[in-house]
């Protein structure tokens, strides 16, 4: 799990001025939502901040909550319970979320995960040919996330349109009847699964187990 946590800090770098939102959604009772805000300035060191976030995530995850974090950095002067689009400082990451089509209310099978990984490799290879860097690849529990670090992309309407257009085009180009790319993850305050935590949805079976979100 250590490498997942390292990857997480690479994806969502903490610091004295950063604000991190941990959103925990209970996998059975959808009405149970726990939101914890961590402000770097309230901790003695970045290590303390990291420790508290990991501790809270781990405890809530053990209690049956799925753990999500913000894809993009929250403004340091954020006040409120949960970050909204207006609270995002800039766009730090492009998330390409690859998931199976059809019934997604139960955990994925290994075969479905493999298909998502195949598509993930196909997409990153295609983008690599266009000069894009290698993404951080995360098996999200039931699908695949590709994270690309962005440069000079702010949080404004034009950027949102650009990200939306990109995801639409990728989906149109790469989707298959079995797996596709989620076009809805374009908003600035999008939350994403926290690597190193277990994702639970629906009924777990031998063929459809709950899985930890891990790097691959």
């Amino acid at each position: 799990m250590a490498c997942e946590i390292d990857a997480m800090w690479q994806l969502f770098p903490p610091g004295p001025e950063t604000v991190h939102e941990l959103r925990a959604l209970h996998h059975v009772n959808k009405q149970k939502v726990v939101i914890r805000i961590f402000r770097g300035k309230e901790f003695g060191s970045t290590d303390d901040l990291k420790k508290e976030i990991v501790l809270a995530a781990s405890e809530l995850n053990q209690l049956g909550f799925n753990i999500y974090v913000n894809l993009n950095p929250i403004n340091s002067d954020f006040i409120g319970r949960a970050a909204r689009d207006k609270d995002i400082a800039y766009r730090h990451l492009l998330l390409i979320d690859i998931d199976r089509m059809g019934n997604t209310k139960q955990p994925a099978t290994d075969e479905e995960i493999e298909k998502a990984k195949d598509l993930g490799f196909a997409v990153s290879k295609y983008l690599g040919n266009l000069g894009w860097p290698n993404p951080i690849r995360v098996m999200s529990g039931n699908g695949v996330h590709l994270y690309y670090e962005l440069s000079d992309v702010g949080n404004d309407a034009a950027s949102e349109a650009l990200i939306k257009r990109t995801l639409n085009n990728l989906e149109n180009r790469f989707k298959t009847p079995a797996v596709g790319i989620d076009r809805s993850v374009f908003n600035a305050s999008r939350i994403t699964k926290m690597p190193g935590t277990i994702m639970r949805k629906g009924q777990e079976t031998e063929e459809r187990p709950y899985r930890m979100a891990v790097l691959f």
């Binding site: 939502v33 809270a56 949960a82 860097p133 650009l162 809805s184």
Partner: protein, 523 residues
Amino acid sequence: MSAKVTKTMLEKLNESLEKDNSKLPLLNATNSSNENYDEVGRLQGALRKLSEDVPRGKGFIFDQQQEVDDYWLGVVWAIAGLGWDSGEEIAWEWSRPSARYNDEGFDEAWSSFDKNHRTPTGIGSVFKLAKLRGWSDSPFSVMEGYSREDDQLKTKAGQTDEGSKSPLAAMEKFSVIGSSQQLKEKMLADVFVMQNIAILGRWTTLYAAPNTGKTLLTLWLLREQILAGVIDANKVFYVNADDTYKGGVEKTELAEVSGFNMLLPSVNGFNKNELFAIIGDLVKSDEANGKIIILDTLKKFTDIMDKKGASDFGEKVRNFISAGGTLICLAHTNKHKDADGKSIFSGTADIVDDTDCAFIIEDLGRSDGDFGEVETRVEFRNIKARGDVAEKMAFTYTKAQGGDYTSLFDSVERLSERDVEKAKQKTQIEREHKRDSDVIDSIKQYIHEAELGKTELVNKVHEDTMVSKSKVQKILKRWEGKNPEKGHLWRCEKRDKNLVVYFLVKTEMAEMVDNLKSVAKNK
């Protein structure tokens, strides 16, 4: 991740993808079959003509050239025989609405396919059976549940009949006697566009007060039927004419995911005032059949307070319905309620008179959660029915603080009758809590601060709120117990010398948060 993706790189990618809009040939990457979008769509279209709710059978679709009734396994094996990556998903999607369906049975059937069988059931048999059930092997074949004949339904009025001018002859020329077969073919089966609420080929009107969730629930119910394959998303046109720009965008995102059409006024040149002219053209060109139009909200298309306007609107709608169209109107209730406290429709009675089916969506109550989320419970109550629709149906949805429309959408759940009863009780309890809130808040505050005996507690609350001691005692007694579901707020324990002290009853969530805090503190 040292290298970064710039705006320019994103732009270049989009240009490249938009220029070259070919698909990645992944569909055929792992097998050499003809699995492509056209063939997948063709198979799914054929399956829509076959009932999935048939006995399992022995793996045949035809026996000695005769179709068999128990063809389910035959169809599943025929799909498995294609060797498509998407085959299992297609077979599962087709099978699962059946009452006979279960995961184990499906998995067993799918994995029992023997590709080396000497006389395998081929996919041709599936297409053959579908054709016998009315499937048309053309890219323009229509959705299940009804037939679209090229021949326009003709009444005698449509035929040239200039010879007779008598009133009786005029009546006779409109008679449809002799056209029953054509009428039957045109008639749509009872297919639910919204489960147990709106039927294909009917006009349904849903009334609700603002912010009751009528748009949310309509979108959710439509998506449910689209996902179940009951209605064809391409034929659904949601006219979102009563929303903010942001709201329009949020709902368009949902429509994109579900695949149905969303029309927003002034976007892409759409003018809502021209909608009925377009619908009229659909009727004239016989393209209305099977189209499902949702008007959100009705007041944007007609003046419901004006009898003449409402009546004209009804006439236009009736033409559309007669041509096989389906209309769902969302409308507001009157701000006043009836003598029983129930909502009533707004406007003149003409719309309710003309519509086939009407429901009032009643707000059963709202509850605040421990983390700022608000749970809303609503009930659809039928006030007019033509067709086998439900008398009542209830739903719940939860708005998380800071949550977006998608999370609100995902929170929608059906409520059983028992749940509705519980919800009503909960609403009643919350109402009573609210009524006594001054005293309740004061009692809670004192219990939280110190262990007080009953008399001392009553005295302090009385001093604090100026409410009589007898009433404070009554409220203290009313909400005493251990069950938060019954509205209990505090429990009491007897101590020495008959001293009674009170403790607050915590919700499950509050208990959990406290536990978390103490665990974190101990570490």
